[in-house]
Structure formats: C-alpha cells, structure tokens
C-alpha cells in the first residue's frame, strides 16, 4: 500500500491566483496597494527552517519576499516585530466549516422495533441505487462563510481548512477555503481538493447497509460498478454517481475510519482497489502501532483526548472499563509515538467540543513525546502535501498565500501569545500586541495622600487586581486596560474607589472619584515586575505511563505470548485416533506441532509440564460463533451473500479470552440468521493478543451462511414488509438467486473463454459480488452452512442444494435433524447442533437433547456448537450431555466438539485430534473432560499457552493494581474528584460490554 501514496502528490497540482473582485465598481473605487512588510522578526519559514532577524513582505494577499536582506518596498506598511515570531498558519484537513448541518434522519428509527423498512433511494435523479453513495456531492455547493466559526479556527491558529459535506458513505468532493470573512468566491482556494469516504450513512434512511460489513460490501460493489460503467460502451443506463466515482479517483481520498481495527480493514480495501486513502483516525492508533505503520497510510489525527472518568467513588469506578482508563492515560502519547515511527500525519480539530482545547491538547501531546518539529510539520507541511496544495500553503515562501501567525515567542512554548493570525493578507488580531504588559506590584498614590499596594496578575487583555486596603486586608478589584487607557476600581470599607487614567511611556496616572464623591488625581509606580506563574508547572516531571497491552482490553498482555517447545508428562491423553485414550502418557510439542505422544517418551531438554491426574484433549473447535465480530447481521436485504465477516473481525472481544478459558482454540465466525443468504464467514484461531491478520486460520476454505425459518421470515418483528414472510417464500428467495447465479456463472465462463483479442472488443460482464459468492459455492470454493430448525425446511434445503449440485454441507441448529437423519446421511449433510436447547421459540418446540445422538447413530457427521458467548465457555460439558442423552461413547462425545467440527470445517488435516504433525491446539484439563468438575488448566494454540488457570488469577489481580494506579493519577490531576464530590455532577456515562447475537439486526449506525 505504501507506494500508492506517492501518487497523491503528483496527482493534484493547483494553480491559483489571488481572488479578484469581479463586481463592477459602484460609486468611487477603492483599490489599495495592500503591501505590508514585517521586519526584525524570527521567521519560521517551514517546520525545519527558521531565519532570525528576517523580514517578510506580502502584497495583495501573497508573499512576495522572505529573508534577511530583502528590499522593503516604499509603499509598504511596515510592522516592526522585534522579538516576535512569524509562523505559517495551520491547515485542518477534516472540517465541515461553513456547511450547515442538516438534521439527520432520526437514528431511533433504525432500531429493531421501531424501524421502518426502507428499500429504495429517497433521492430522485440519475443516481446510484443506494442513496448513501453521494460521490457527486461538492462542498462548495453548500458552502457559506461562517464568521463565528472562522474566528474560532483562527484563534486556534488555522488559516485554511478543507471542508466537506459529511453526509454518506461516499461523500463527494471537499474544498479548501481560507478563514477570512470575505465573500465565498474570495475565500474558496480550491473547489476540488479531495473526496471523502466513511461508514456513516448520513441522511440515508435506507436499511442497506445495516452493518459495517454491508458498508464494506457496498463500497466494493460501487467501485466495481464504476469500473464496469466506465469500460462498458454498451451500457444502457446513465448514472451520475458512478461517473463521479471514476472522476473522483484522480483526487486524494480521505477515509473516516471508525477505529484502529477498522483502519486496518480499510487499508485492505485500499490495496484491493489501488486507492491510497488518507485515514481520518481516532487517536487510538498507538494501540496497534506496528500494524498501522505498516499500512503506510497517512493519517489525520484528532486531538480529542478523553476526559478523565468519574472514579473517586470506588463503587462508581468499577463501572469504568479498564481500557478506558488505559486510554485516558495513553491517548496524549499517540501523536508522538506515530511520529517516532515516521508516520505521516496531520491534525484536525474534529471531535473537540471547543476549539480552545486544540492548543491545550497539542501542548499535552508535545509534553508526551511529540517533537515540536513534528507538531509543526503536522500542522503545516503534511496537510498541504496530502492534498497537493504545497504551492499555495504550508510554508512562508515567495508566491504562497499570506497565511501566517505572529507570536510572542516560539509557538509551542506554553507561554506563547498569538498576537495576529493573517489570512490571505488580512490581519485578524487574536491578542492585541500593543497592550502593555502590566503584570507586577505597584504603589498607588492618591492626591489626598492615601497610598495602596497593588498587585496586577494575568495576561494582557485579562488582568486581575488585588489591593491591600489595610494591614492584613486584601481586596479584589477590577481592572481594564487598553493600549493607552486604564481603569481600576476597588472597595475600601465596602465603598468603592474608582480611578481612570492614561499610560504614557512608563508613567501611569489619571483622575478618580473617592467613595465620598471627592475628586482626586493619582499615579502608579511599578515596584516589581511580575513573573509568569505558569512557568513552575512547565518543568513538572512526567511520570512514566503504563504499557500498551495486546489486545487493548482487560486480560491483554504487554508481551504477546511466547512459544517454547514442551512436553506434558503423565496425563490421560485422548487422541481421538486409533490409539484411543492412553493413560499415563506424554505429549511432546515441537515447533507448534504435535511431535510425539505415548508412554514415557524421551522429550529431551524441553519445558516439562506435569500432567499427573489430568487429561489432554485436542482444542475445542466451535463450529458456530459470533464472537470477535463487530456486528453479526446485514439485516436489511434477504440476500446478502456479498458481505464478509472478515471485514468486521474484532480481535479485542473479551469473549475470545473467556472461551480460551473454556478450552476453545478455533472458532467459525458466522453471519447471523437474519437472511435466507447471509454472508461469508471466517475461521479464526484464538490467538488472543494477535492482530486481525494473525487471528486467521491459514488456507481456510470459505463458508456461506444461509438461514431458514422464523428469523428469516421476520416473524417476531412487529411489522415486516420484506419478502419472504413464509417458508414458501424462503425457498423462492434462495432458488431465485441460485438460478441467477447459474446464469451469471455461464456469462463469465463464456467471457473468460474468449481470446485476448476478442476480449478487447467485448465488454466484460458486470461483476456482481453477491452472485460471485454463490458461484463460489457452485465451484466448492465455499460451502453452504444453513441455519435450519423444522424438518420441512431442512428437507427442502437439502433438495434445493442438490438441484443446483451443491452439497447441503452443514445444517446448523437443525433441531429437527433427528427427524430426517436418514436423509441427511444420504445427502452428505453434517449437523451442527445444540445439546439441549429447546422451546425458546415456536420452531424449536420439538428440539430434543437426543438430536445429536440420533443423527450420529444414523451416520451423520455431527458437532455441537455454541452460537453463544457464554455457552462457548463450556462446550465440553455440552458434549458430555450426549453420553447421557442417547448413549454416545465418551470418545464419540468429545469428538462432537473437536474432531467432528474439524472435519466439517475442512481442518481435520491439522486440527481436531492428537496426531503427530497436527497443530498443537491442546487443552490440559484438571479432570475428565466431559465432566462438570473439569476445567482447563492450560489452553494451547499452536503450542503457545494462551490461557493458564494460575496466570488468569494473577492477571485479574494485576488489572486491579493497574486500575488503581491510573485512578490515583486521575485524582492527583484533579480529574475525578471535580465531578464526584458534591456540587453539580455531570451525568455519568461509561462504556459497557456488549455481546452481539445471532438474531440482532439493529442498524450499526445507531448510537442511542
């Protein structure tokens, strides 16, 4: 992906001229020379060049000279900036400046119970079918100068921003605008700088996409459609959206990602379509630093560090998740750590409630390791480079825009005062530099011979006054100072002395009125100039923050688990192979594989684990899981075979660790059961702490989720209009898409059979990701996994599959499978069932605990799955029940959760039994593995210990210690107690754990 990014720079090359007023002159013309010279300043030309005692000349809003020995034009207004600094002003790449936020469709209408089903686009016109795709939007169409917001930006140091209408998944084109109060045509520097992408549907009310993975699929399909549209001369449609998609490809692309993991997934999309995305990040990048660095993607970083959570009350503190505490501490280190890895990034004010917070947080980031050089680069050169506007902005060079800051000192000095922010050669005063610095101690003499000691504190523009009115008595007064005038008043004996006057050179004097109405004259003499109070704080030593943990949640570790060869001695070994159960046996693991097992093996000098009294089985394989995913259903359309669970793989789900604690080593992560055809599943090994890529089972075959029955026909929703509403319609939904996929397959086969020469003349068929997934099923690149309950539908799907030459590969739940077990055996269908769940809805009233045994006895390959974050923690017990319900042998029972699912998932060549050469996915049990009294002592994945019973308890304790350390830090910084003790308390809101389930179809964009 890295190489893609050099493209950006070459693509966009803008020419610009300073905006001219084209209106006819009304009355008497008033065009001025607008030449200004700034002399004797320290000019910071760019983030790496500083010239002392230099001058800068600007003319009509552009820089015409910078340097030591430049000629000052005689028509220039000259400003002497002795002791002051000039910096290029900042650029923010991610704003909605000047674009009125229209109220979005109420997100509440997207909830499960109150949602209205919307299947059609609400936007009229020749546009794409999905109205979250708005690549034709252009920011300038809705842009209006907003003086108030421009001022806030300027105060934070910005001179220009990129503005974008943040509406939709494809958001169209952004504009670069200067932050002056002039007319729009003067302010817009470029109407086409970049195009925007996100996962937020914005104003779209359509159900599709209803999930993050659906949004991925939609983006993919749109890109493919645009390619097809662009290349196919025979097309008989006009689509303004697809035309815009292709046009926008010449611009830099900015993708607003949801979090660090999502960023990695968008990077895959970037590779897939050869589009170098600039990622608008979220400040959590340090949590997966190496992975994010290796994408090579430039970032736009927010500086919205989290507020300290409310933790002073221990009973409240328990509600704050560990990762939120860790993030509070580590978030300010994010920019510095990215800079250290030479990641290219710029900063944005996005996400800040108040732009004043920008500088505060920037200084915090600098304190936490961001070099000042990198900070300035991120605010000037990088943003400008990322949008290809470096000929216009980003440094103070001849010909560039006169966008610069005048400051009192080095800009990242906490004491630095920004005096002026010049934009397009127009001066905006931030702090009046002419205001005198009056900090200090004074003697005030009144003409009636009264004398007072005064102390003036604060900064020019905001002073405070303390007056010693008597011995041991100090009163607060008011003070107001402009360039020449001063006014002060203070109480004496509860009555007010009011003084007004002027300042000239060092003298401060004037007239006033005493409480009794008597007029006096007065003068003030400086006794001692004031010092900056804040200086003391500056040198405060930072305490070393806690370490990043992998994954970034409770039970993550600073170090990923380390592998070493080992032997388990003297245990009962369940081989599930011809060797059966071997008592008092050893298992030797080398290089992550099972190297040898049997009695008294000579293991050599490896780590030895005493297995006396314990049992070893292969790791549990959960054939049906929804953990480790951000979302389970694309619950909108009936057929959504285009969505991929891989796109929403979340290796930070606490459930992964909890299931390791139950002996699970491999899981099949399925789409939910909302649709007749759901999505493409993904197989993971439970390598807790690994990144998404590391979790994947290598060389996995595909599986495609199908579903039948109550969930699919939405029979427990208050209203539904979606076809199908009956089991009759369910069959038709699947049959229809199969028939279309057959036809599609033939079209492509015909095209692929053409010679290269013929291909040049013949347009390729339109690529359809939905049908591709089904063609994969036809070609056995992926296999059917079908959620089914009652026997009629089970029977139906087997016949339907066979009609299309598909194996009805895995029938999940299959609670009435026992009624058609003979047919399953004949069709070669496997059963993936619960042990004893029943009666929780109408279609499972005939579910019986003997289901697995009957199917198994009938020759069906059967496994027991969890489909549940909780049950996945004790699948060994669920298998144990099948000895009781139906009399399976103990070996056959343990196979229900090990070797059988391995076979069903085409993994039995490397998993599922204890056999030399297979992956060392093992569980060391404290007791008989089918017994309620057993629990894993250790769980190994590829021979690495990912769960250890003793370490589990230790980790729980160390989490408490780390929590306590951070809470103390919060309290020491005044964070928690401010809200907690008495007074007004802001309502508490903390993150809480959330478990996705099979049936959940809530829209992914809902936030309340």
């Amino acid at each position: 992906m890295k190489k893609l990014y050099c493209l950006i720079v070459t693509i966009a090359f803008f020419t610009f001229t300073h905006a001219q007023n084209l209106s006819p002159v009304l009355g008497v013309g008033d065009e001025r020379p607008e030449v200004y010279a700034f002399i004797n300043a320290t000019v910071v030309v760019d983030y790496q060049t500083e010239i002392e005692d230099a001058a800068m000349v600007i003319k009509k809003g552009k820089i015409t000279g910078v340097g030591k020995n430049i000629v000052i034009p005689d028509n220039a207004v000259v400003f002497d900036l002795e002791g002051k600094y000039i910096y290029p002003s900042f650029v923010d790449l991610f704003t909605e400046y000047g674009i009125e936020k229209k109220s979005l469709g109420t997100s509440a209408s997207r909830s499960y119970f109150s949602r209205q089903q919307v299947f059609d686009s609400k936007i009229d016109g020749p546009f794409y079918w999905n109205d979250a795709i708005k690549p034709y939007q252009s920011a300038i169409e809705e842009f209006h100068v907003n003086s108030k917001d421009a001022e806030d930006f300027r105060k934070a140091g910005f001179g220009a921003v990129v503005t974008q209408k943040n509406d939709g998944i494809m958001r169209g084109i952004s504009a670069l605008v200067a932050l002056t109060d002039e007319d729009e045509e003067q302010v817009v520097l470029s109407g086409k700088v970049a195009c925007g992408y996100s996962f937020d549907k914005g104003n779209s009310q359509m159900n599709y996409p209803g999930s993050l993975m659906g949004a991925f699929a939609l983006i993919r399909q749109t890109f493919y459609d645009a390619e097809w549209y662009d290349s196919d001369s025979d097309k008989n449609v006009f689509d303004a959206s697809l035309e815009a998609v292709t046009e926008n490809k010449s611009l830099p692309s900015v993708f607003q990602v949801r979090d660090k993991i999502n960023l990695l997934d968008v990077a895959r999309l970037s590779d897939e379509f050869n589009i170098p995305f600039v990622m608008k990040g979220n400040g959590d990048e340090y949590q997966l630093l190496d992975e994010i660095v290796s994408t090579g993607a430039p970032l736009i970083l927010p500086l919205n560090f989290p507020e300290a959570p409310d933790v002073d009350d221990p009973y409240k503190a328990i509600l704050v998740p560990f990762e939120d505490l860790k993030h509070w501490e580590l978030a300010p280190y994010n920019p510095g750590r990215l800079a250290d890895k030479e990641v290219e990034f710029s900063f944005t004010t996005e996400g800040l409630k108040d732009k004043k917070q920008f500088r505060t947080n920037l200084l915090k980031a600098i304190k936490c390791g961001l070099s000042k050089r990198d900070a300035l680069k991120a605010l000037t050169e990088t943003p400008v480079k990322l949008i290809g506007c470096e000929n216009m902005l980003g440094s103070l060079e001849d010909g560039k825009l006169a966008n610069f800051l005048v400051t009192s000192s080095e800009i990242f000095d906490p004491e630095c005062i920004v005096y002026e922010n010049w934009v397009q050669g127009r001066k905006y005063v931030i702090t009046d530099s002419r205001l005198p610095d009056l900090k200090g101690e004074y003697t005030l003499a009144l003409s009636n011979d009264e004398h007072f000691d005064l102390v003036i504190e604060g900064k020019p523009g905001s002073y405070s006054l303390k007056v010693k009115t008597e011995k041991d008595k100090t009163e607060s007064g008011t003070i107001s100072v402009s360039e020449n005038l001063i006014y002060l008043s203070f109480p004496k004996d509860k009555k007010w002395v009011r003084l007004s006057g002027w300042m000239e050179d060092k003298a401060i004097e004037g007239t006033g009125v005493l409480p009794q109405g008597k007029n006096v004259t007065w003068e003030m003499t400086l006794e001692k100039a004031g010092k900056d109070k804040a200086r003391k704080k500056k040198d405060e030593k930072l305490t070393e923050p806690g370490k990043v943990i992998y994954p970034f949640v409770a039970y993550g570790s600073e170090m990923k688990p380390q592998y070493k060869d080992f032997v388990i001695k003297n245990a009962t070994v369940w081989t599930l192979e011809d060797e059966g159960i071997i008592e008092n046996a050893d298992v030797l693991v080398k290089n992550g594989k099972i190297a040898q097992f049997g009695k008294n093996i000579n293991a050599g000098n490896v780590w030895e684990i005493d297995g006396t009294g314990m049992h070893i089985t292969p790791g549990i394989i959960d054939e049906h899981s929804h953990m480790a995913l951000s979302g389970t259903n694309e619950g909108s359309h009936a057929i959504t075979s285009e969505v991929r669970m891989r796109d929403v793989l979340n290796p930070e789900d606490a459930t992964i660790y909890r299931q390791l604690a139950g002996g699970v080593t491999c899981s099949h992560l399925l789409h939910g059961s909302a649709n007749p055809i759901g999505g493409q599943s993904v197989l993971i090994k439970l390598r807790w702490g690994g990144n998404p890529e590391e979790m994947l089972v290598k060389n996995q075959v595909g599986f495609l989720k199908h579903a039948l029955g109550e969930n699919v026909k939405q029979s427990r929703m208050p209203t539904s209009e979606r076809f199908p509403l009956t089991r009759m319609g369910v069959e038709q939904s699947i049959r229809d898409v199969y028939a279309r996929a057959k036809e599609y397959q033939q079209k492509w086969e015909a095209y692929d059979a053409l010679s290269e020469a013929e291909k040049l003349k013949t347009p390729a068929p339109r690529k359809d990701l939905q049908l591709d997934a089904i063609v994969d099923e036809f070609n056995e690149k992926s296999f059917m996994v079908c959620h089914t309950y009652v026997q009629s539908e089970t029977n139906m799907i087997m016949r339907l599959a066979q009609e299309f030459d598909i194996i009805p590969h895995t029938l999940i739940h299959n609670t009435e499978g026992y009624k058609v077990a003979d047919k399953m055996a004949e069709a070669g269908a496997a059963g993936s069932v619960f042990s004893d769940w029943w009666n929780y809805k109408y279609e499972v009233i005939d579910a019986i605990a003997y289901n697995a045994a009957i199917q198994s006895n009938e020759g069906v390959l059967v496994c027991i799955n969890s489909d549940d974050a909780e049950m996945g923690r004790r699948l060994n017990q669920e298998a144990g029940k099948i000895v009781k319900y139906g009399g399976l042998s103990e070996i056959e029972a343990i196979k229900l959760v090990t070797l059988n699912p391995a076979k069903i998932l085409h993994l039995d060549d490397r998993m599922g039994s204890i056999k030399v050469g297979k992956d060392a996915d093992l569980v060391l049990w404290t007791d008989h593995p089918l017994s309620v009294y057993a629990m894993p002592s250790k769980t190994f994945v590829d021979g690495t210990v990912y769960y250890d019973k003793e370490k589990d308890k230790e980790m729980h304790n160390s989490i408490q210690e780390e929590r306590s350390r951070i809470i103390n830090k919060i309290l020491a910084e005044g964070g928690g107690s401010k809200k907690g003790l008495g007074g007004s308390r802001s309502p508490m809101r903390v993150n809480d754990q959330f478990i996705y389930d099979d049936e959940d179809i809530t829209d992914y964009t809902i936030d309340e």
Binding site: L319, V553, R716, D836, K841, I848, S931, R989, I995
Partner: protein
Amino acid sequence: MKTTFKNIIYTILLLGFAYSTFAQVPSPASEQDHGIVLIGAKAHIGTGDVIENSAIAFDNGKIAFVGKADELGNQFSGYEKIDVTGKEVYPGLIIMQSQLGLAEIGGVRATLDNSETGELNPSVRSCVAYNTDSEIIPVTRSNGVLLAQVIPQGGMICGLSSVMNLDAWNYEDALYKTDEGMWLNWPSYYSRRGYGSNRTLQENKLYADEVKKLEKIFSDAKVYKGTPANSKLAAMQGIFDGSTILYIQADYVKTIIESISFAKKMGVRKIVLAGADEDALMVKDFLKENEIPVIVAPIHRLPKRKDSYTKAPYEMAARFKDAGILAALTYDNTTNSANLPFVAGHGVPYGLTKEEALQTVTLNPAKILGIEDRAGTLEMGKDAHIVVSDGDLLDMRTNKVTLAFINGRNVDLDNKHKKLYRKFATKYGQEITE
C-alpha cells in the same frame, strides 16, 4: 362384526397411544399406598453426610428411616424393597426463582404468563397461572428437580411467588407453600443504551422517582387497616409480620445496600437478595451482618463486566459460602431448568465440596423458603422427595435419574424428549438407551 370390534379396539388403543405420546405430559403419580425402602445406594443426605450402602424407608409420603442398610429395623419388613445397589440417592432438588409453568415457549407471547404489566403488582399471584401440563416440567424433573419456587416478574413489585411440587394434576395439588414470597425489582441506577461499541451505562434519571413510589406504597401498606378495600396493600401485610419473604432483585453494589436498608427501615422482617453476583460479593460483610441469604445470579452467564474475573460466575456459590452467607442457585433459562444439578456441580472445582454443592440446590433453598422442616434433606419425618441416579447427579457425565418420589409418590420420569427419541430411534432401528 368381531373383526370390526377388534379394529375399533386397536384404533382406540392406537389413538390412546398417540395421544399419550405426543399431546400429554405423563399422568401424575398416585398417592403412596405402601411403604417403600430403597436399599444399597450411596445416600447423599443433604446435611453434608453421606451414607454408603444405605437404606431409606418412607411411607405415607414421609421418610421413616435413613441409615445403614444393615441397621434397617424389622418394622420395615412389610415395605416394598427396591434394590438400588451401586446407585446414588439424593433429596429432590429445588429450583429457586423459576418461571416453570408460567412461561412455555419464549418466542410465543400467548404461551407466556410470567410477566405482568404495571409497576406495582403486589397482589399478583404466580400460583394461579401455574400450568401443571407444561411440557417443560417433566423434562426438568427427569434430571432430579422436584420442587420449584415459581415467581412472577414485571414492574417493580411483581407479586407473590409460591413453591410448587412438579408432579400434580392442577395448581392446587401442586401447591407446596402458597404465596410465600413477595418479589421486588429494585430500580436501576443505570440504564444501558446504545449499540455495539456505543453501548454505554447512563444514569437512570428516574431512579429517585421510582424509589419514592416504593417508599409510598410500603409506608401505606404498613399502616393499612383493611379499608378502603385495597388488594395491593392487603397483599403486602405478610412482609411486615414475617409470613411473607421479601425477595429483592438489585443489580448494582449501591442499589443492593440501598434496597436492603430500605426494606429494613420499612419494617420488613425477612429479606432475601436475588440475582447476587460480583457486586453482591463486594458487600458480603453488609449481607452477613444483616443475615441476608442470597439467590446466586444464574451462573451460566458472562462475567459481569469486561474486567471481571473470568471465572467469576462459576465461583459465586463457593465465595458466598466462604463468606458465611446462605446461598441457593437458580437456572434462569426456564426451558433448560433440567440443567439445575449441573450448575450446582459446577461450583465444585471452585471450592465447594460435592455435598456443599448439593446443598445449593436442596437444603439451602429449603432454608430460604422456610420449608426445611419438610424438604431439602433425606431426614426422618421429612416429606419423601427422593431422587435415585445411576451415578453422580450433579455431573452431566453421570446423571441418570431412574427413580424419583415426590411425597413418596413414584413419579413418571417420561417426557417429550424421551418420547420423540423413542419414536425416531425406533424409526431408524437404533438401540434405545433410555
């Protein structure tokens, strides 16, 4: 004519068979009409004692002898002797906080009678809606569960629970202790909002108002003298004189303390905390000092919070026992109530002895319910609620209940699952193991 008659008989027999197989739960057992003695099993008394090669005699529904087989006196010579050598005998299990008989099919509202509308329903009684013909009941008792505390849900004050025996013709027959408990859902400090990674806990702004409503009804009930006719206030009288137990469900450490303190202040005599989890354990000293027994939150759940101890749900019963707090278990998934013995067994690797684990589903619930004089152990004079299993009842690997007695009545252990199993195993010619 003869043939026709025969056909009719066959038809009737077949119909009868079909009917009894698929449309009806087994008939309740008839009253015990002769003495029975179970000889030779390992008896788990429920008190913590275990008797190898035991004899347990019972007649007229009461246990008449418990001891070593060789100490069985001559007075039992007329009893029917059942040889249970090699098997294990247990007191009948008691499931607390159950929806048995009230909730049949989760997804079908018409079959659900467990949750009433409204906030304050103290007079609502679970027993009158208890369906003895629920298909779930025979499945549950075939794993050894013989008594159930059936509770109403919904609102803040949900109503009155009763203890039912799980083999009866109608609810009146089933009643074992009537209207024994009042159920209070204490309001939450927090409400859960948002979806997926946006899931948050936010302060429940209605909390104070909700507590005020409770304060008012408790205060009004306390001084209620019978007029005007008010069935709500009348129904609450028992909690003040101790004849009704107040079961409080509170889910957060602060509300646990607030709710119990509230009840005490209001003069409630007997208080039980239901849904006791990690948070209840945080205030175990408070519970101990106030002698509050607990019903442990269902252990087939995830740890309460992301940071909670991985095994927290499983170790709950052991930790409450360590703290000296009387604790009973429940199983919240009604249709799978048959798993009650296994959640008890699950406490063993976390620190309970097997006999202590048994007590979490026998003696401890009996004590909480105030029926320990009649149920919960195999002791002389108690009702003969007895379970015989081929192996360890608390382990799914060995649980195989072959005999069960409720008040000495020999309970039919057949159920819908077994019937469907026989039907289809027979179809395929498979060997039937039940």
